[in-house]
């Protein structure tokens, strides 16, 4: 009897784009790894050995565990907002079995010591796998390169100053050039700080009406274009975080056509909400980049449909209630997104923007490929990271009931569809109602 997890997940609708699988079948797990995926199991079925737990997946989708390549776990330093334990628990609740965490902790993750701290904590306390994204610059100050090589050795899978851009073009150039040694992506938070200065929502007629300073779309578009040019110049691997604008999507599309090595991600809120969500000074709708217009939402959806946008990540940004219950200007930016992402993504499938297979590409396979973590697949030998999804199960979003410490979401009270009723990860089967 093998001591790891041994399962037979029976009769589910398996969607695994890494193997071109989209149909009914069984998944076998032996000793914590996927040992077989059998489509339309032969009649009669082979006998099930002793010690194998049978999970009936009739009526459920069986997907590779989702991979969120953009989360903020807040530990070390901001444990009043979230910890590695609570953040990864929230991830599993949301169907994610692997996350990549950004370096804007305190201290900033710009060295191997903080990287090791996070990875060890995650190993011991994390409900899912955690990979670190190291800072591009020391302290994220945008002045000097951080020790990418040493962080890479310690386990970092990408580099980013997320939360902030690398404003100095020369430094971004160096980062892209230098990163070529390690073959990992440089993730850009594309924001021209001089254009966005003082802004707290999208610039437009609504920002004037609310009397809030606006951030023009060009603050993002200009930096995306700059970074694309630098990627072309250097041959480095560029990944654009949280694309929110039509112009940004267009720039990435053109860059890909020109053969430049760039990938891009967007977040569920950028294809679900517009700037209207800010009405009434709703701080739960305050984020960076800000929610934009209908036209931008449509462009983001088109970008997902035609492959311009490779990844849907959450940019999970939990905050303490006090940091949202204040004047709009001072409120922290970001939403607690892990536990609403999957049902929001499923709406894209309902709308015909993506197929289920396409959705799994955006939320599991592509992020895994881009970061090189070897997840997002049900291939034989993969660790058993599996999601059983009840696509039709409805529920009402209840922020107070989140596993995340962050209750900041504009989706509180929304009626959504799609519950990951079981998530298998790190040798455990987590059941969500």
């Amino acid at each position: 009897m093998k001591k790891g997890l041994n399962l037979l997940i029976r009769n589910g609708h398996i969607v695994d784009p890494s193997q071109g699988i989209d149909g009914k079948g069984d998944v076998l797990v032996e000793d914590g790894r996927i040992s077989d995926v059998r489509l339309r199991p032969p009649e009669p079925e082979p006998p099930v050995g002793p010690g194998i737990e049978i999970i009936d997946a009739e009526g459920l989708y069986v997907l590779p565990g989702l991979v969120d390549m953009h989360v903020h776990l807040r530990e070390p330093g901001y444990e009043h907002k979230e910890t590695i334990r609570t953040g990864t628990t929230a991830a599993v609740r949301g169907g994610f079995t692997a996350v990549c965490c950004m370096p804007n902790t305190k201290p900033v993750n710009d060295n191997e010591t903080v990287t090791e701290f996070i990875l060890r904590k995650a190993y011991a306390e994390g409900a899912c796998y955690v990979y670190t994204i190291g800072a591009i610059t020391k302290g994220q100050k945008g002045e000097e390169l951080a020790e990418m090589g040493m962080m890479r050795d310690a386990g970092c899978v990408a580099f980013s100053d997320d939360g902030l851009p690398v404003s100095k073009s020369l430094l971004m150039r160096r980062a892209l050039e230098y990163s070529k040694v390690f073959g990992v992506p440089v993730i850009s938070h594309a924001e021209d700080l001089s254009l966005s200065a003082g802004g707290v929502m999208n610039e437009g007629a609504l920002s004037v009406r609310l009397g809030l300073r606006g951030i023009p779309a060009e603050a993002e578009i200009i930096m995306i274009k700059r970074d694309i040019e630098l990627a072309a110049l250097t041959g480095g691997r560029l990944h654009i975080a949280h694309v929110s604008t039509a112009g940004g999507v267009a720039a990435v599309r053109e860059a890909k056509r020109a053969g430049i090595d760039v990938t891009a991600e967007t977040c569920p809120h950028y294809f679900t909400l517009t700037e209207e969500a800010v009405a009434g000074y709703n701080t739960n709708a305050k984020m960076n980049p800000p929610l934009r217009t209908e036209r931008d939402v449509e462009a983001v959806k088109e970008g997902l449909a035609d492959g311009t946008l490779d990844v849907i990540a959450t940019d999970h940004a939990p905050h303490h209630m006090d940091e949202k219950l204040c004047e709009f200007d001072r409120a922290a930016s970001g939403i607690s997104g892990l536990e609403t992402a999957l049902p929001l993504c499923l709406r894209l499938v309902d709308e015909g923007v993506l197929s289920m297979s396409g959705l799994v590409e955006k939320t599991a396979l592509n992020p895994s490929r881009i970061t090189g973590i070897g997840k997002g697949s049900l291939r034989r030998g993969s660790t058993a990271d599996i999601v059983l999804l009840d696509r039709d199960r409805e529920f009402t979003v209840d922020a107070e009931g989140f596993a995340s410490m962050g209750r900041n979401t504009p989706f509180d009270g929304w009626r959504l569809k799609g519950v990951p009723v079981a998530v298998i990860c790190k040798g455990r089967v987590h059941e969500n109602g």
Partner: protein
């Protein structure tokens, strides 16, 4: 006062955007009666005796705060002034904590001025007391617009159909915005004049014409409403120098002559003489700037009176 039990729908006044035409007219009608009180020898009525009004000002202000204070005292209320200095904010007490503490002290009305837009709305949601917006960030300054409308009505007998030019930093002016909403609701024809950096196109009601030249914009207007160039709110680069600003958009005698002969000149104060307006014009018979100040007290009395009625159900 003569009004027939009409009252405001909300316990708060956070913006002109939330007031209907009927409510605006109710406030202006009520203010007429209170202006009479201000002409008497003993400028006091016992109407709101026993109520407590708190001025919670997070931004420095002498004229608005004093105006509210006088209005409250004329109605016999008890008035408390909280001027929250920058250091209190730095000490970290949250806005909500400050406000709920004030309510716990027994405030019936909280008059709030803050540098962040949306603060009055936040307080209105969290307090049982009535909240009056005395200026929030670059959003609104509703009582200023109401007293401006009152002043125009005093002069012209009505507002509908008048041609009104608002000049200056529209983008950052809560006075301008509240006036735009108020005057449009009352049927005036509003136009904006100023540099393109301070009046971006396409962001307002399409019926509002935008001019970048005083000579083009002032033709035949009935009211010229000048805005203060707010040095403390300026980011760099909206216009090169105040000299140039005055050269292109300052209100001079010659420019005022382009308006109708009986046109009035308004300014919310305090004025930057020589930058947005010349002294000649500011002190001329066409100027109603001081009337605005007097009317401010009457209008604020009306607002306090009507809100107290709204809270206690008439």
């Amino acid at each position: 006062m003569g009004e027939t039990g009409r009252q405001l729908r909300s316990k708060d006044i956070v913006g002109i955007k939330d007031l209907s035409r009927e409510e605006i007219e109710l406030i202006l009608d009520t203010a007429v009666g209170f202006k009479d009180v201000l002409r008497r020898d003993i400028k006091k009525v016992p109407t709101l005796r026993g109520k407590t009004v708190v001025n919670l000002f997070f931004e420095p202000s002498t004229r608005t705060r004093t105006s509210f204070e006088l209005a409250a005292k004329r109605l016999s209320t008890d008035v408390i002034n909280f001027s929250v200095s920058a250091s209190s904010v730095v000490k970290g007490e949250s806005l909500i904590d400050t406000a709920t503490a004030i309510q716990a002290l027994g405030a019936d009305v909280v008059i709030i001025r803050h540098s962040s837009s949306g603060v009055p709305h936040l307080l209105a949601d969290h307090l049982n007391a009535s909240v009056i917006n005395a200026g929030d960030g670059i959003n609104e300054h509703p009582t200023q617009a109401l007293l401006d409308a009152f002043t125009i009505m005093e002069r012209f007998g009505g507002i509908s159909g008048l041609s009104i030019a608002i000049v200056g930093d529209i983008l950052h002016s809560r006075v301008a915005k509240s006036n735009i909403y108020c005057l449009r609701t009352l049927g005036a024809d509003v136009r904006l004049i100023g540099p393109p950096t301070l009046i971006p196109e396409g962001l307002f009601d399409p019926d509002i014409e935008v001019f970048h030249s005083m000579e083009e914009g002032l033709g035949d207007v009935d009211v010229v409403m000048m805005l203060r160039i707010q040095m403390e709110r300026q980011d760099t680069g909206f216009f090169p120098t105040t000299d140039e600003y005055f050269r292109l958009w300052g209100l001079t005698r010659e420019r005022l002559a382009l308006a109708r002969p009986d046109a009035v000149v308004m300014h919310p104060g305090p004025m930057n003489r020589g930058i947005e307006i010349v002294s000649d014009v500011a002190d001329s018979p066409q100027s109603v700037i001081l009337d605005q100040v007097t009317n401010g007290i009457a209008v604020r009395m009306a607002v306090l009176y009507l809100l107290s009625g709204a809270r206690s159900g008439g």
